[in-house]
């Protein structure tokens, strides 16, 4: 019995797929991705920074957006910042159990940092330490803790190979 040609082609393509050992990204690809990431970060920063700059500009010029407010713009800004601080402090005081979203985000962060740490990048190891301390209840945080503990354990275990025996 003849097999459907689409099925044959798909099966053959699947059997020959290089993804059974997915090729790591090459330097040029990484560079390309890094540039895009940088552009993305720049755009995000601009989105955050522009309203703040606009507010600062208004404040420095003494512009009143709301004529009813009798306080000066700098007092108004200081009060808003204080309110923001209070809100943040109250949020910090109430540690929420990890949600599915934060769990997932921590897991992704762990994966990214672990890839860096596996390449020997010290800042990624620092990142893992932060993740383990900041989000100890998430899966990502726990994985980071496991990674750090295993690493520390390996460091503190004396090697079976003495230096002198190598030099002799």
């Amino acid at each position: 019995m003849n097999r459907d040609p689409i099925e044959s082609l798909l099966r053959e393509a699947d059997a020959n797929a290089p993804t059974r050992q997915i090729a790591p990204l090459r330097a040029s690809e990484l560079e390309q991705l890094r540039r895009r990431q940088l552009a993305r970060r720049g755009a995000a920063l601009a989105l955050v920074a522009l309203p703040v700059l606009a507010l600062a500009w208004d404040t420095s010029l003494g512009v009143h957006r709301d004529p009813v407010i009798s306080t000066s713009p700098s007092e108004e800004l200081a009060r808003s910042l204080q309110e923001l601080d209070d809100t943040l402090a109250s949020l910090r005081a109430r540690p929420a159990p990890p949600s599915a979203a934060s769990d997932s985000a921590a897991a992704h962060t762990f994966r990214a940092l672990h890839r860096g740490a596996a390449r020997g990048d010290e800042s990624s190891v620092e990142g893992l330490r932060w993740l383990a301390d900041r989000f100890p209840e998430t899966h990502g945080g726990r994985c980071a803790r496991l990674f750090l503990d295993t690493k520390d354990e390996a460091r503190s275990t004396p090697s079976a190979t003495p230096i002198d025996s190598k030099t002799k």
Binding site: D4, P5, I6, E7, L9, L10, R11, E12, A13, D14, A15, N16, A17, P18, T19, I22, A23, P24, L25, R26, S28, E29, Q32, L33, R36, A39, R40, A100, D103, S104, A107, H108, R111, A112, H114, R115, A117, A118, H139, G140, R142, C143, L146, F147, T150, K151, A154, R155, T157, P158, S159, T161, P162, I163, D164, S165, K166
Partner: protein, 203 residues
């Protein structure tokens, strides 16, 4: 006394194994429940990774696949009590895998719309030729065409021809009626045929 050489820290093998994930969920449930989950995940792990690869790779990177697999396991762990045993556990996990992969494919497509797609195909092709391990051109073309299909079309083709599921089983996993799966399959075959040299390769 001889001085000891500083040991090289051994990195635990996180990539390509369910163990770190399983370690991270231990203690969140009774040991009996954890053990049952671990046994099932270990058995289903290779099939899950393979399915995500088939649905998401070509083009796609190993890290995309790993991220989705980890998402699938998290979702399975969180929803383990909603599994009522009406279907096989692997069918249930399959359904989660298909949905999570679909979300990842959507996110990737949004990303590519904004920032473009890294031209990884050309680099890898050149690399493969340099290695003397060139896969058959035809297979290469088929994989590339599969990657160009809409995700919904790719889903049915992969589930039908690579995962060897029948229409009924695909309907369960995609939450569709049989007729809808049939229609989608026929449309996907047609689109793939058009992409493959306008059907030249099917003759």
């Amino acid at each position: 006394m001889e001085a000891l050489a500083p040991p090289i820290p051994a990195l635990p093998s996180f990539v390509g194994s369910p163990e770190p994930f399983l370690w991270s969920v231990r203690g969140d449930a009774s040991s009996e429940e954890s053990e049952e989950f671990e046994r099932r995940v270990r058995a289903a792990w290779p099939g899950t990774v393979r399915l995500v690869e088939r649905l998401l790779a070509w083009p796609g990177s190993a890290s995309d696949v790993e991220d989705v697999v980890q998402d699938v396991l998290l979702a399975a762990w969180r929803g383990r009590r909603t599994f009522r045993g009406e279907a096989e556990w692997t069918t249930w996990l399959h359904t989660i895998t298909v949905r999570r992969t679909r979300n990842a494919a959507r996110a990737r497509s949004r990303r590519e719309r904004w920032f473009g797609r890294p031209d990884t195909d050309a680099v890898r092709d050149a690399e493969a030729q340099g290695d003397g391990a060139t896969p058959p051109m035809e297979s290469d073309e088929v994989r590339r065409s599969l990657g160009r299909l809409r995700h919904a079309d790719r889903e049915v083709l992969v589930l039908r021809y690579l995962e060897s599921l029948d229409v009924e089983e695909i309907a369960v996993r995609l939450g569709l009626q049989r007729a809808a799966v049939d229609a989608r399959l026929s449309r996907a075959r047609k689109r793939l045929g058009e992409l493959l040299d306008g059907g030249e390769m099917l003759r």
